[in-house]
């Protein structure tokens, strides 16, 4: 087991810098999920930890040892790849045993370790099969088994569930979480799926365009997003953003007036963020009224689409509320659920 420390990690291809100085300390046994849209540099970051990409600048340390110039095989890490990267000509057993064999682990110990991993992952009956004879979920488990048998200091996961169908993905997500809790191995997990990120992570690293915009526990990231990007990326349906101007006693968004939790200098241009689930139906004292342009009744929830001050606005109401398109919907938002960002920089105020 080990902690992982990233200090001002940068990556350039030629003159183009794609990772702009990431800092992150991952504690021993922690499960950190790096989440972001495709092309944000999250996979590159993970591959730098693995040693598959050179570190242009900065430092990565695993268990207190700087690994910048250490080969992947000597970093004591194991990796689960997006397409699993199983060796097609080797049996499940051989796939799992290969890393140990190369390291010269005695045969009897290899067998014991593979068997133990196979038991955990319910792969026992499949050990003699070839990867092509397995289902997607089974291949995924073999890829994990290959990581587990090595008993490494750090697990690295590169979008391991993205090739599975939706149902299997939920199931494997739970398995991964349980496994990591049982083994207690430090893990770094890369995904573009924010639900996966929220459910798996002890801590999230939200990346955008090569920058770690926010690092923190999922709930904290959800409740106090530091930037417009993070606020929009985490949460589904995504947060509503409304252009607003600070006034003496709150914020004005077009016709609507909000009370704000903090005082801002009047006249300042800001962006107000409000999550769809924080808008409530309140016919008595509404903060704003929107005309329902489209209503999606999902059963548990009813999603109302409207427009406020030229910006699209979504409200997620309980499924019990009957709203039809064309209704004028009176809505309220508690001041503590308003997120105010600087209009220019997008940073939280």
């Amino acid at each position: 087991m080990a902690d992982v420390r990233l200090r001002n990690v940068r990556k350039s291809y030629g003159d183009t810098e794609v990772i702009h100085g990431v800092d992150c300390e991952i504690a021993d046994g922690e499960f950190v999920v790096v989440v972001g849209p495709s092309g944000c540099g999250k996979s590159t970051l993970l591959r730098m930890v693995a040693g598959l990409e050179e570190i242009t600048k900065g430092e990565i340390a695993i268990g207190g040892r700087v690994v910048n110039d250490i080969e992947p095989k000597d970093r004591d890490i194991a990796m689960v790849f997006q397409n699993y990267a199983l060796y097609p000509h080797m049996s499940v057993f051989d796939n799992m045993a290969y890393g140990l064999k190369i390291r010269g682990v005695p045969r009897s110990e290899i067998e014991a370790r593979v068997e133990k991993a196979a038991n955990i992952l319910q792969l026992k009956p499949l050990l003699e099969r070839k990867p092509r004879q397995l289902s997607g979920g089974q291949r995924q488990r073999v890829a994990m088994g290959r990581a587990i048998v090595r008993d490494p200091q750090v697990f690295l996961f590169d979008e391991p569930l993205s090739n599975l169908d939706a149902k299997l993905r939920v199931q494997m997500r739970v398995e991964i979480k349980r496994l990591q809790q049982d083994l207690g191995t430090t893990s770094i997990y890369v995904t573009h799926d924010q639900v996966e990120a929220m459910t798996l992570a002890d801590r999230l690293v939200v990346m955008n365009a090569g920058v770690a915009e926010q690092v923190g526990p999922p709930i904290e990231v959800y409740e106090r997003p530091e930037t417009v990007f993070v606020a929009g990326f985490i949460g589904s349906p995504a947060m509503n953003f409304l252009p607003a101007i600070a006034t003496e006693n709150g914020l004005s968004v077009g016709e609507a007036r909000f009370r704000a939790a903090q005082r801002l200098e009047p006249g300042r241009n800001v962006t107000v963020g409000v999550r769809p689930e924080h808008l409530e139906l309140d016919p008595a004292s509404p903060t704003l009224r929107v005309r329902a342009e489209l209503v999606e009744a999902l059963g548990a929830d009813t999603i109302v689409h409207g427009t406020l001050a030229g910006a699209p606005l979504l409200a997620r109401l309980p499924g019990t509320q009957r709203v039809v398109a064309g209704d004028e919907v009176p809505l309220r938002c508690a001041p503590e659920h308003l997120h105010v960002f600087d209009g220019a920089t997008g940073k939280r105020i």
């Binding site: 591959r47 095989k73 790849f81 097609p88 000509h89 890393g99 190369i102």
Partner: protein, 281 residues
């Protein structure tokens, strides 16, 4: 799609006629190898096999005929086998490692080397007969197995085929191997080589036939009757191809010469077809 029943037999008829024509020369040769030379030369020869097969083959294998300086076809078959195997194995070996270098490494001159190999497609031995012979003679390789095989084992075709295949191996497989701790040679031995099995088999079939059937090159670099390959041997036995020729022995030798490559095509048809379609020169 439903077809009229009446034309169902047409394809079979056409194919059978085609096969009859294609197979006819081979059939006649096989029959001739069971007759005596006089039976062949003075007659219209019989189109049914005779009883002299065993003695013709024994004579061919052990002593050849007057024009082969007493060197039997057995010796020629051995020479040809050695050369064909050396060419097939040699070509595959040097092509697979050079393709591996070009695909799995990044180094100065990578593309230059690739083109250097690729352009040999444009230089078949037929266009550089005399100077190539001079090189081989200068190296003292005339009348040696090395002289027969080595100049033919550089192959752009095989290198291209392996390169093409290597490019389909996913990057992540290489990365998984790196994380597992496999270096380049280990990765080659444990992953690339086993994955290339079918390509190697297909190439082997094609290259064995290529090596077995060489003609111009052995004609140039062998003078010693002991080093003759079987295809050249037949040419020597044939003489002028007239009534003085010992036809029964020549025909037995011909059967012996075409049997091994034809057997390989028939027995390994799957690999042969794959090799032919994928190498296509």
């Amino acid at each position: 799609m439903r077809r009229a029943r009446t034309i169902d037999w047409v394809p079979h008829a056409v194919l059978l006629i085609g096969i009859a024509i294609i197979a006819f020369p081979v059939y006649v040769t096989v029959v001739a190898s069971t007759l005596t030379t006089p039976e062949i030369v003075y007659g219209p020869m019989s189109l049914l096999p005779g009883p002299h097969g065993p003695e013709n083959y024994v004579q061919a294998l052990s002593e050849g005929n007057a024009k082969t300086s007493g060197v039997g076809v057995g010796r020629m078959l051995l020479n040809t086998l050695v050369v064909a195997l050396a060419i097939a194995v040699g070509k595959i070996a040097i092509s697979i490692i050079s393709a591996y270098a070009v695909v799995f490494f990044n180094f100065p001159g990578r593309m230059a080397f690739f083109w250097l190999i690729f352009l040999t497609l444009m230089l078949p031995v037929e266009v550089r007969i005399v100077p190539t012979y001079a090189v081989v003679a200068g190296l003292g390789l005339v009348d040696t197995y090395a002289g027969l095989a080595v100049p033919l084992i550089a192959s752009a075709t095989a290198t291209l085929l392996f390169r093409q295949f290597f490019l389909t191996i996913p990057d992540e497989m290489v990365e998984a191997a790196k994380v597992d701790g496999a270096g380049p040679m280990r990765f080659f031995k444990d992953v690339v080589l086993p994955l290339s099995r079918t390509n190697i088999a297909a190439l082997f079939v094609i290259l064995f036939i290529y090596g077995w059937n060489q003609y111009l090159w052995p004609l140039l670099v062998t003078n010693d009757a002991e080093m003759t390959t079987i295809v050249i041997g037949i040419r020597r036995m044939l003489g002028n191809g007239d009534a003085q020729t010992e036809w029964s022995i020549v025909m037995a030798t011909t059967v012996l010469a075409l049997l091994p490559p034809v057997a390989i095509v028939i027995l390994m048809q799957r690999w042969f077809v794959k090799g032919l379609v994928e190498t296509e020169k």
